[in-house]
Symmetry: C2
Subunit: 208 residues, 2 copies
């Protein structure tokens, strides 16, 4: 139960926070590649030029590390999404904007996403992870809120509203597993592609 005491002096606290962020980010990278359980604290520490014990100055436990990774992932996403939804706009435009934001976030936090998905069985159970589950829930509700009116207006390419949501979640989350930074498609193009699918955008006519 190491308290990982934070510095009080302003100069040092700043450094400490930056360092902690780096530790968490490094953890995300290593966990994504080697897996959470199979990564030893020693490996992790080595990857950031620390001795094993040094990690515990910034983090209370390995499990808390996982928690911080989830926070680094969900916190900014929810924040950005809230800002976007606060602006007034048509649901279809907002949905497109939100999916763009989302895909950009996923591609910028691939490691975090991969860890988040791999450790689903941990996050899904236990009181400790309630907050993170709620974050995810809130985000899904934002999507739901945009999809509902579109469904009511018959604008979706699929009959079932909830299936549309599930499909969207699947497409975007899966992006973390194939996206590569210098790939053919930009995150925005990918996002637009997903939204096009959702809208059942009628493609070019079939007959010559």
């Amino acid at each position: 139960m190491a308290a990982t005491t934070r510095p009080t002096r302003p100069r040092l606290r700043e450094r400490y926070d930056r360092r902690q962020d780096a530790v968490v980010r490094a953890a995300a990278r290593v966990f994504a590649h080697r897996g959470y359980d199979q990564t030893t604290i020693q490996e992790l520490a080595a990857s950031i030029d620390l001795a094993a014990g040094g990690i515990y100055h910034y983090v209370g436990s390995k499990e808390q590390l996982l928690e911080l990774i989830c926070d680094q992932l969900m916190g900014p996403l929810l924040e950005r999404a809230r800002v976007l939804l606060a602006e007034a706009a048509e649901p279809d435009a907002q949905l497109r904007a939100l999916v763009r934001l989302w895909v950009e976030h996923v591609t910028e936090h691939r490691d975090h996403m991969l860890v988040f998905q791999q450790e689903r069985h941990v996050i899904e159970r236990g009181a400790r992870w309630r907050r993170i589950r709620e974050d995810r829930k809130r985000f899904e509700q934002m999507l739901e809120g945009l999809i509902a009116p579109l469904h009511a207006a018959g604008r979706l390419g699929v009959a079932d509203e909830r299936l549309a949501l599930a499909a969207l979640l699947g497409m975007v989350n899966h992006t973390a597993q194939w996206y590569r930074p210098r790939g053919r498609l930009s995150p925005a193009e990918i996002a637009d592609g997903y939204v096009d699918l959702l809208f059942g955008a009628p493609r070019a006519p079939v007959d010559p």
Copy 2:
């Protein structure tokens, strides 16, 4: 390197095979819930009324258990898919049938799927898993082979062919994470929903 010697006597071999299958299936169930690394062989053994050591009569190692889970998942899927593709039919009908088959398989092997996804980082690297990676590759190529002509005919709801494939993979694989046996939608309905999205099926007109 326990050889997990199989019985030679026919009566016993049959029982052995059935038992091994049960062990693997039980492993899939427990791994899906508790996670591969966090599940001890003892827990697993207990869940099937065996002592820890007894497992090793049927399986050489914990890692091989993972391998067998992947085989139980991919083997039948590829087999069924091959049969389906052998029949002559239009690409759109075949794609629809293949996605149905696939979604049914995913929903019937939810645990296997969840383990497969959770342990992605293991399966992705190392010579030992090459065969399994190839199986997955082959399946994706089947999908690709059906999507290509549809894309050429302008039948897809999205401009990019590869994005369509990625989207489909994401949707279907994600199904394992929310599907519940007595849910509102049947696997076939879910599959049709996905295909509708892919085809950008024009929904009911917007205006009243």
